[in-house]
């Protein structure tokens, strides 16, 4: 599972049970994020835990933030998945917006490095 363009890359590493995000993601609306969403849902299927590593994602537009919030709620609805988000403390949007996802799922683990 790997989505790669000139601007960004999203891929799943089954060994680390982690979805990595890299680059600049600013797709045109929520619908344009459905391939990324599918990748996330496939990755979490039947897993008791999953990590999203966003540290190299320099830019995410608000449609992308909406997509992440939608994924968080899907995980919450499953009820049996531990979700970890890894952010970078030197990437501004992550320091500004990631913590809000905990409003949707207080059990979400957010680690900054």
């Amino acid at each position: 599972m790997d989505i790669k363009t000139d601007d960004y890359r999203v891929w799943y590493d089954p060994e680390a049970n982690t979805v990595f995000f890299q680059g600049f993601l600013r797709l045109d609306g929520m619908e344009a994020y459905s391939p990324v969403m599918s990748l996330l849902l496939d990755a979490v299927e039947k897993q008791p835990q999953i990590t999203l590593n966003l540290r190299q994602l320099e830019f995410l537009n608000s449609s992308g933030i909406s997509m992440l919030s939608m994924f968080v709620v899907k995980v919450r609805q499953r009820g049996d998945v531990q979700l970890y988000l890894q952010g970078a403390e030197n990437v501004l949007w992550q320091t500004k917006s990631l913590k809000n996802l905990q409003r949707l799922m207080p059990g979400l683990q957010l680690e900054f490095a």
Partner: protein
Amino acid sequence: MTETFTPIILGQYIPQIPPSEEYLTLHFSPTAAPRNRRWRNYGLSADFLGDYFAAFFPGGELLAGKINRRDTVKAAVSYVANELLENAVKYSDSTVNIPISITLYLYEQAIIFRVINHATLDTVHQYQTYLQQLLNADMDEFYTQQLEKTAMGLGESHMGLLTMINDYGAEFGWRFSPVSSAETITVDVMAQLQV
């Protein structure tokens, strides 16, 4: 009979923008190229604006976190400019061939963004109803509700506007005024960002 539309101002709209020695305006023609090709240009333009205005700020000192003032300005300007442009494109009346404009004004402690686009009366009415709710609500509560609604896939998200206000502390003002025909409205959005 056509409905008459009187100009309306909402939020912290600044009628006279204070003089600024550094400002920059970009115009985008809405029909020059297919939307998917133009879309990438909005992102690139937002990055350019971020780089351009960041160059006026010092790079060395670290702010509260791990990001210096220059990089903070760069990332914040790029985020806000991109969201404003995306919204202007999304809600523009594509049948009216008037360019979208974005101007940034630089001050010592703030940057003012001004975006002008044209929208249909229907779009404007819906937007105004939403803005009235937003302006009368407790922001924190409203944000959480809207995030939950968006995450459940219920209706329009407006997360761009909400993240700019809630996460970046941008102060917004809007002016809606009719163009010659009452069916097209000029939407003039101002966002003030402390830097």
